[in-house]
């Protein structure tokens, strides 16, 4: 008979305040198999774990149940703890009497205690049936994939490459650089964004360990940690990258002008183009939708003028599949399209623009060469109004969260307006000013004191055009009266939202995402750059709105995780995989069709039946591929397949324990 030890945790007052832990511990002694039961303030603490180890020695325990928080939180901790006490690390089960009990039944202590007992009883019934399991090893491919070539992707790739691993960066735009390439200055130091970004872009482009796959997208992801088989679609650039020298002649001569997405349609680019002058790779791409040659078959000037003969209209999309050990997702963010909501007339009045538009206007390589001009009549604005929290912190518009970086970049914009237009009047409508970084608050105060920005605490209700000027109608809640400003230019700090394709990419990778399609980290505090899918890491705004310093920090953190993974040729995998009882398996193949990871195949075995040697087929599970979902065990009618650590017998024991 198994000797089970039950350890009921108070978790300070989190559990103890509602659940009568001593009573639960005492009741646990009646459960079959329990020989030792105790309650303690902090089971996960050092003394708590020591207590478990001591109890295992003294009472010759061979199974342990810890009734405390969610196994998603401390299952690892207690598995390592029992391993330290000489038991197989899978001889521990947890009863979640905090998140699933004390925290949600605070008003009903007796019922919560009774429920805690039931949960402990279920855990004991299960742990009695736990079998010893050893972690298996699987190979790790020494190659990393970074999806997204913004600052986060570049930084992660550089750190991984500098650690000696090969990295591929997949970027859907023709050039890496992401949103940061569009920005003029960065807060709080006001140093120019391109000056700190382009060197990193060049370093990434020239780094021997880094391959840039620009104008490409991830098509399919298969396999699992250490062995991700990723199919990448390299969209046809119609330019032969090896031959092209980037001289730019074709871009000059191309007759077709198209709105430049990089310049947010405030200036034109050609059909054959590089998004911005410092683009890396600095080799153009033909926009097949707008190129006359691809639409009508005429023109072809670019191929005629090209000295290197690099233009190749016949180029096709290319699909290549590579195996990677780890993946860093760094696809960044998009700005919330505020034209959907008419109050501010964004999209209707040309002089109502977003922060990114402003960055381009104030950028030296922008459409107005750095002079702030109104998109409508190119005049220099005198009254500039900034509006913060446009879409953010506004559940009615669907974005309940704060976008974190707008307070700082709006203050920066105010500074830039003052620097460029001495006699301008700057108004900033805000609800709160959030300056959560080093030097941030000082920077904000400078905009108020030195640069004379008028911060008006209140929301803007309506903007409308009156003649040349925009009437901004709002309210000054500190003075308690409505405010009306005749503005020449209105800049909206719109919410940061997830990239439009974020949901599909998440489903390809099998990682979670929240209601706003930002990716879900494994744990907000303890594992901010990991995902629940082992081997897939997050960096930058795709995990949630954040500014550049934080994105870079996350990128290096993700890189550290990747290097930790890739530094080993093999890695231990969870032994929670299916196993086949070949004597029972009839070889019907139902499981083969159902396995999402194609980890099961039918193999032929020979057997002596009634005096004959007979060949027959049975299922066989590839422990490396199997991820332990258990779907096959239900497809198998004769229960020949069982999932280790979640066997039919264990689950049945939990069900039976619940009711007897």
């Amino acid at each position: 008979m198994k000797r089970v030890g039950v350890f009921v945790c108070h978790c300070g007052t989190n559990i103890g305040a509602v659940v009568d832990c001593p009573q639960v511990a005492e009741k646990a002694m009646d459960f079959p198999g329990v020989v030792y039961s105790v309650d303690y303030k902090y089971m996960c603490s050092e003394p708590g774990q020591e207590m478990i180890k001591k109890a295992v020695q003294e009472h010759r325990l061979d199974r342990v149940v810890v009734a405390s928080c969610s196994p998603r939180m401390h299952e690892r901790t207690f598995q390592r703890c029992v391993e330290g006490a000489g038991l197989n690390s899978y001889f521990v089960e947890m009863a979640n009497i905090r998140e699933h009990c004390s925290w949600v039944h605070a008003g009903e202590p007796e019922k919560a205690t009774e429920k805690a007992m039931d949960l402990v009883k279920m855990a004991v019934a299960k742990v009695v049936k736990n079998k010893p399991l050893q972690k298996a090893t699987i190979p790790v491919t020494d190659r990393a994939l970074v999806i997204g070539g913004g600052i986060a992707g570049i930084q992660a790739a550089l750190d991984i490459a500098n650690a000696g691993h090969v990295v591929d960066i997949v970027e859907k735009e023709p050039s890496i650089g992401g949103k940061m390439a569009q920005i003029d200055k960065t807060f709080p130091t006001l140093d120019c964004s391109a000056c700190i970004l382009t060197p990193k872009m060049v370093e990434a482009a020239s780094h021997p360990n880094i391959n840039l796959l620009t104008y490409s997208e991830v098509e399919k992801v298969e396999g699992f940690v250490g062995n991700f088989d990723v199919t990448i679609k390299k969209k046809a650039r119609s330019v032969n990258m090896d031959v092209c020298t980037g001289c730019g002649l074709c871009m000059e001569k191309c007759p077709k002008k198209v709105d430049s997405e990089f310049e947010l349609k405030m200036s034109k680019r050609r059909a054959i183009y590089t998004p911005f002058p410092q683009a890396i790779p600095n080799k153009p791409v033909i926009d097949r939708e707008n190129c006359t040659y691809f639409n009508t078959g005429k023109c072809g000037i670019c191929s005629k003028v090209c000295p290197a003969g690099a233009v190749d209209y016949t180029q096709e999309d290319e699909y290549l599949t590579r195996r990677y050990g780890a993946i860093v997702v760094a696809i960044g963010f998009e700005l919330f399209d505020y034209s959907v909501i008419g109050e501010y007339g964004y999209g209707k009045y040309p002089d109502v623009i977003t922060g990114l538009h402003f960055e381009r206007l104030v950028n030296a390589s922008g459409p107005t060469l750095g002079k702030i001009k109104r998109p409508s009549d190119h005049k220099e604005p005198k009254n500039v109004v900034f509006i913060k929290c446009v879409g953010s912190r506004d559940p009615a518009k669907g974005k309940s969260y704060c976008s974190k970086a707008c307070c700082m970049y709006t203050a920066k914009h105010a500074t830039l307006v003052r620097e460029k237009i001495k006699d301008s009047n700057i108004y900033i409508f805000y609800m709160d000013v959030r300056t959560p970084g080093k030097g941030y608050d000082e920077f904000y105060n400078r905009t108020r004191e030195q640069y004379g920005a008028n911060y008006i605490r209140g929301r803007v209700s309506k903007i409308y055009q009156q003649g040349e000027r925009l009437i901004v109608r709002g309210e000054d809640t500190l003075l308690g009266r409505p405010v009306e400003i005749e503005a020449d230019l209105v800049v909206l700090a719109t919410a940061m939202v997830a990239q439009p394709g974020a949901g599909q990419l998440a489903q390809k990778l099998g990682i979670g995402y929240d209601k706003d399609h930002f990716y879900t980290e494994a744990h907000p505090k303890l594992a901010p750059v990991e995902t629940h899918t082992q081997g897939v890491y997050l960096a930058g705004a795709c995990q949630g709105p954040k500014d550049i310093p934080e994105s870079v920090a996350q990128a290096s953190a993700a890189a550290a995780k990747v290097c930790g993974l890739l530094s080993k040729r093999e890695m231990l995998t969870e032994p929670i995989v299916s196993e086949v009882n070949e004597s029972i398996c009839a070889g019907c193949g139902m499981c083969v069709a159902i396995c999402p990871y194609k980890a099961i195949e039918l193999k032929t075995i020979s057997e002596r039946i009634q005096g004959q040697t007979v060949e027959r087929q049975v299922a066989s599970v590839n422990g490396g591929l199997c991820q332990g979902c258990g779907a096959c065990t239900v497809a198998c009618r004769s229960a020949a397949l069982n999932l280790k650590h979640f066997t039919d017998q264990q689950i049945l024991a939990e069900v039976n324990a619940l009711c007897l």
Partner: protein, 296 residues
């Protein structure tokens, strides 16, 4: 049907003599006038015992499982429902098609043995209910066919789910009363499982109490667990041959559960006739992204 019996015997004799198969499985007259049992003939002269009359109701397909490791081939006579059963066994990879010689027949429908016993010889005896509703009287998958001219033409358009719908309209308690009334009688003799072609596991979980799924106790609750589990196991593979009902010593209307599932599979995932196409994907063997969504 007299002349076909002679054709049957001659065919079986030729097969055995030419060595095309080592054994022929057919029917022979049983102890009573109203029952024909299965016959396993391996010597040419014994083929005289073979007959084809209105009482050859036994589904011979499942016997092939006992001879699947025998060298050479085994020949078997199949009616419509038998050939569907055989297809299911092939779909479940339990039989190798090349080791079987299938001789198809057109089935005029078999007479109800129980009625025959009651009404006595000479009176007109009705067909089995399953034969009256049968939509596949002619063998589907065969190497050769006996009685080409006997092929049955008029066939009911779709299955008859009236009994199922009648039961569905009752209140929960009424339904449960009927369900209990039926399965109180169950002896757990497993005859229904033993005769069912869709129940082809090497070792059934109900024979292995170690699996923890069920106990030997013969109470209503365990009987219901067995009945519902078996219904779910054969879901999407039950060909509606009705042998389970015929084999049940206490006459439990087992097909009521299977027909309910067949009706739901048709309604939810599109029409599916088990055992009519060996290459078809089993409805509960996969999924579609566009399955109906009820759990949002």
């Amino acid at each position: 049907m007299e002349d076909l019996t002679l054709v049957l015997r001659r065919t079986a004799k030729e097969i055995l003599e030419k060595g095309e198969a080592q054994m022929v499985i057919g029917w022979e007259k049983g102890a009573f006038w109203y029952s024909s049992t299965s016959a396993f003939i391996s010597k040419p002269e014994d083929t005289e015992r073979l007959i084809w009359d209105e009482y050859c109701v036994n589904n011979l397909a499942k016997y092939l499982l006992d001879y699947r490791h025998k060298e050479g081939k085994v020949a078997v006579f199949v009616k419509g429902c038998d050939s569907r059963a055989l297809n299911v066994l092939l779909q479940d990879k339990q039989l190798k098609r090349e080791k079987i010689l299938i001789i198809g027949l057109a089935c005029p429908g078999m007479k109800d043995e129980v009625e025959a016993r009651k009404l006595g010889r000479g009176s007109s005896i009705p067909l089995y209910k399953k034969c009256r509703e049968c939509r596949y009287p002619n063998a589907l998958n065969y190497d050769f066919f006996i009685g080409e001219d006997k092929v049955i033409k008029e066939i009911p358009a779709q299955d008859d789910f009236s009994e199922v719908q009648a039961l569905e309209s009752l209140s929960p308690d009424e339904k449960y009363n009927k369900f209990v009334a039926n399965y109180e009688r169950c002896l757990r003799c497993y005859a229904c499982r033993n005769i069912c072609p869709a129940c082809n596991c090497r070792e059934c979980i109900f024979d292995r109490t170690a699996s923890g799924w069920s106990s030997k106790a013969n109470n209503v609750s365990e009987n219901m667990f067995f009945a519902l589990t078996r219904a779910l196991h054969v879901a999407g593979r039950c060909v509606g041959c009705g042998e389970c009902e015929r084999a049940c010593p206490v006459n439990i209307p087992i097909m009521l559960l299977n027909k309910k599932i067949i009706q739901d599979i048709n309604a939810l995932f599109g029409e599916y006739e088990a055992g009519t196409d060996v290459t078809a994907k089993l409805p509960l063997g996969g999924f579609e992204f566009t399955d109906p969504e009820e759990f949002m």
